[in-house]
């Protein structure tokens, strides 16, 4: 429930009651994606089938990969009398068809509105389970009227850890909770850990399940994902690294491990740009007692060199950054390192204290930069009229804004449904910053070239 103060604040902030062209998605979407990053897991939504269909469609159009989400298919009487019967039938059907290793159950607004007692239904299901070796079911409560896709994502990771993690003999291994990043980001994180020789468990890991190969054999379930036994082992890892400054003070997976199993937690910003990545590297250096491996040192060196090569094309350029709060934080940090001026950092999420987080990550962000949560694209567009950006950095939903302002859009984050390869956009690490930088500079150069009447062919 919002406090009176927050409601007051809301009134002041928003001059429009309705949300026009939202800059956020709904909670179970994040849950489905996170569940998809566990090996052999099938996501299941408790509610009407429409939500599952819409969410599948959205994830599929970004990843261009198959994405199954089962549903308990509420109808009028389930909406009134409860959907327990449907849920049990659905779980049995999914188990029989897919033989999953686990089922990831999230609720939709409808199930939450009628106040379904999911734990009770699950207990009844288990007590008279028709299916032998029934797979474990991890459930998470994800009403969209109480959060966004990012909340759904983090809460699901938290639920997975809460369900499976057990204590045990301390391992060499670390846990990484990367947040909602791209498949390429996940692969890069694993590569970084390999460079350090550090065994790591990423949760979730949809780098393969959501960006797989063609099939030369029939697959009921895509291969890949964090193995469940590794999630069990998270109770005994030597430390957890959690990305997302917005997770501070929240009951996240890392916080849970720390409280329950005394696993030291390092909460970092998403490693985007030089300094945020340096912070991540420092943590890895301390953990392994090794200094940064040569390959990564070189990546950093090349990045700095590239920033010098490109600075004259970008300094002073005005950027609007929009998207998930933690992503936008990272991008703001990075852009201000390059000399680009993020005139507006916007997110559709509600994030109390977000401006402070952004300014911590990006200490050189000019004071006149606007940092604003709970914005929608209509409001961003209105502000853009005055801010006169040279470039927009955000998801495909930023296209309308970019088109209206006549400036390039650098597509990052989620969803990217008007280009191919959204799942392969690299944001993290020095390598990610390198790609973002090249794309940004090139877009600005291309714009200059196209707009020029001179026809420069040498820039």
């Amino acid at each position: 429930m919002n406090t009176v103060l927050e409601q007051e604040e809301e009134k002041e902030m928003k001059h429009c009651t309705a949300t026009r062209n939202a800059c956020k998605l709904c909670t179970p979407l994040g849950a489905c994606l996170a569940f998809r990053g566990v090996e052999g897991c099938i996501p299941f939504l408790h509610g009407s089938q429409g939500c599952a269909t819409y969410i599948r469609r959205y994830l599929i159009s970004h990843f261009r990969e198959p994405m199954d989400v089962a549903s308990s298919n509420f109808h009028e009487e389930s909406a009134i009398f409860g959907g327990g019967k449907n849920l049990k039938a659905g779980l049995a059907n999914v188990s029989a068809q897919y033989e999953p290793e686990m089922i990831g159950l999230a609720t939709t607004c409808l199930a939450e509105t009628i106040g379904e007692n999911v734990p009770l239904i699950l207990k009844e299901y288990r007590d008279n389970c028709a299916v032998e070796d029934a797979p474990p079911i991890v459930s998470v409560s994800t009403p969209s009227y109480r959060g966004t896709h990012m909340d759904g994502f983090h809460e699901t990771v938290r639920a997975l850890v809460g369900h499976f993690a057990e204590s045990g003999r301390r391992q060499e291994r670390v846990a990484i909770f990367p947040g909602m990043v791209s498949a390429e980001d996940l692969r890069h994180l694993k590569e970084i850990c390999r460079e350090f020789g550090l065994p790591a468990t990423l949760l979730p890991d949809y780098s393969e399940t959501m960006d797989g190969e063609t099939w030369d054999s029939y697959q009921k379930m895509p291969s890949g994902g964090t193995p469940i036994h590794e999630i069990v082992g998270l109770g005994s890892v030597r430390m957890s690294i959690e990305f997302g400054r917005s997770l501070v003070g929240r009951d996240s997976a890392g916080a849970f491990l720390e409280k329950q199993f005394q696993v030291p937690r390092r909460l970092l910003g998403l490693p985007i740009g030089i300094r945020e990545t340096d912070r991540f590297m420092e943590v890895l250096e301390t953990a392994t007692g090794r200094c940064k491996p040569a390959a990564l040192r070189q990546q950093r060196g090349r990045l700095v060199d590239a920033l010098i090569d490109g600075h004259k094309y970008v300094f002073g350029k005005r950027a609007i950054v929009c998207g998930d709060a933690d992503l936008a934080t990272g991008l703001a940090a990075f852009l201000s390192e390059t000399g680009i001026f993020p005139v507006l950092c916007a997110t559709g999420e509600r994030r109390v204290g977000w401006e402070k987080q952004v300014r911590e990550a990006a200490p050189d962000l000019p004071p006149e930069s606007q940092v604003c949560d709970r914005l929608d694209f209509a409001e961003i567009e209105e502000r853009a009229e005055e801010l006169k950006p040279d470039i927009v950095i955000g998801s495909s939903k930023g296209y309308r804004l970019a088109r209206k302002m006549g400036v390039p859009l650098i597509r990052v984050g989620f969803p990217i449904h008007d280009r191919i390869g959204g799942q392969r956009v690299l944001h993290l690490g020095y390598a990610g910053a390198q790609q973002l930088y090249d794309r940004t500079v090139n877009a600005l150069m291309e714009k200059k070239q196209t707009d020029s009447t001179v026809g420069y062919s040498y820039l």
Partner: protein, 573 residues
Amino acid sequence: MPTDIEMKNPDGIASSIPAEKIKEEMLKAYPAKTAKKRGKQILSNDPDTLPEVGANSRTVPGIMTQRGCTYAGCRGVVIGPIHDILHITHGPIGCGYYSWMTRRNLVRPEPGATNYLQYCMSTDMTEEQIVFGGEKKLKQAIQEAYDIFKPKAITIYATCPVGLIGDDVHAVAREMKETLGINVFAFSCEGYKGVSQSAGHHIANNGVFKHMVGLDNTPSEHPFTINMLGEYNIGGDAWEIDAVLKNCGIHVTATLSGDVKYDDICRAHNSALNVVMCHRSINYMAEMMEKKFGIPWFKVNFIGADATAKSMRKIAKYFENPALIARTEEVIAMEMAKLRPIRDAVKARCQGKKVALFVGGSRAHHYQELFRDIGMEVISAGYEFAHRDDYEGRRVLPNLKVDADSRNIEELTVEADPERFNPRKTEEMRRSLEESGFCFSDYTGMMADMRKGALIIDDISHHEMEKLIELTKPDIICSGIKDKFIIEKMGIPCKQLHSYDYGGPYASFSGAINFYQEVDRMLHTKIWKFVVPPWQKDPRLKARPTIAQKEKAPKKEEPQSFKRPAASGQAGE
């Protein structure tokens, strides 16, 4: 140029496995009760006896379906394309977000004209409204929408949670209509109301009929006016149809609903004829307009060259004007002269290839025409959300059992309008047209047009799709985005017929050419050479065993000649 037709077993594996056997394989993985239910939705076609399809029944929980919800059918499909109405979704953010420009129902408003389609307004309900009710927020949202945009009309769509907390969206609409003096109306299209988006189509038809059709009696100055019902201008289809009809001298007053304005719909009842493309989503409207205004309707299909020509002739004949009939023949001849050489060239490469279509409530039928044009064989087809009449024809309607979900949806009582009812044809004229082969108010369904033994699968699930591929190996599958990537991962090209994969138009003659060429390229592009499909390996060695596979007898060695078609030099991209 070499073709690869001969590389395929001419009968194909498909026809060597009887439909009944395939069905049996599909059902094996299901618990008994589920198998029984799905068994009624999977059958072997017989165009003469037309076996009963268990269509429009609820999807079993936990079975992966392509179906969407009532809200999607109402907001997304039927009304969404009206581009100068302001649409407000009343609910939490997701439902509205997901219906924001996700269908490719294109619009081309005249310069300076209003286009709200790029806006997605949602009341974005929070816990406070879920607990204390959302009517106040909805009212505010409508007021603001009016203040900002001053639209001609505002529509409100209720999503699942709204139905449960008991917000009276209709009362809010009435109140705001009064206050603002513009047309404001609401739809109770909560997602749980029906078995699929189909329920939403019906609700939308009712709303459009009640609140828009008939508002403007200005007669048209055109001599031959029609409405195109059930055409959504995906990829620009409606523009192709409009253009070819215009060339004949036939004017389309309103296309429901593709690139259409509020005013066009308010005037639609002045037209002389309604023609129906997608029977499923709009037959209600055709029926209601006939009852109230006396406008006859018949079924047309502008997908496929022969089908387009046939539909054009039918429309021209309806007006019984010799000049119009002659001009229509001229246009057809002209278009066919352009089309024929292209079709023949494509046909030479595609003849005998096999296709399966699982989509929508009419497309799985309509698109068979295009494949027939280029000599391809339909081995299996099914709809996602159609009813029995779309499979078996409207003759089943009188005996159709009304189930609980359909009973939920209001059937409007429509009577002849005391002033405006005007039967466009006298009984006598109608009879004489019928004697010459005209079929008013009828649709004979998909199955009558399909060969005996073809496999009909209603509301196909992921599992069944995989089995179908494994057992029949079609050369191309038409489906939607939810299946597309599974199909292509197995090395089979998939054409999305909801969104057209960013392509189109495919309607009318120029659209048909477009489609032939695209299918040709899809089938013959060189990339398929790099894919080793599962059936070229022993599936039991690699796959995670499914229940069905565990029970299955060892598979026979497949003929060496049966491979994915290699690219034929020319046709690649």
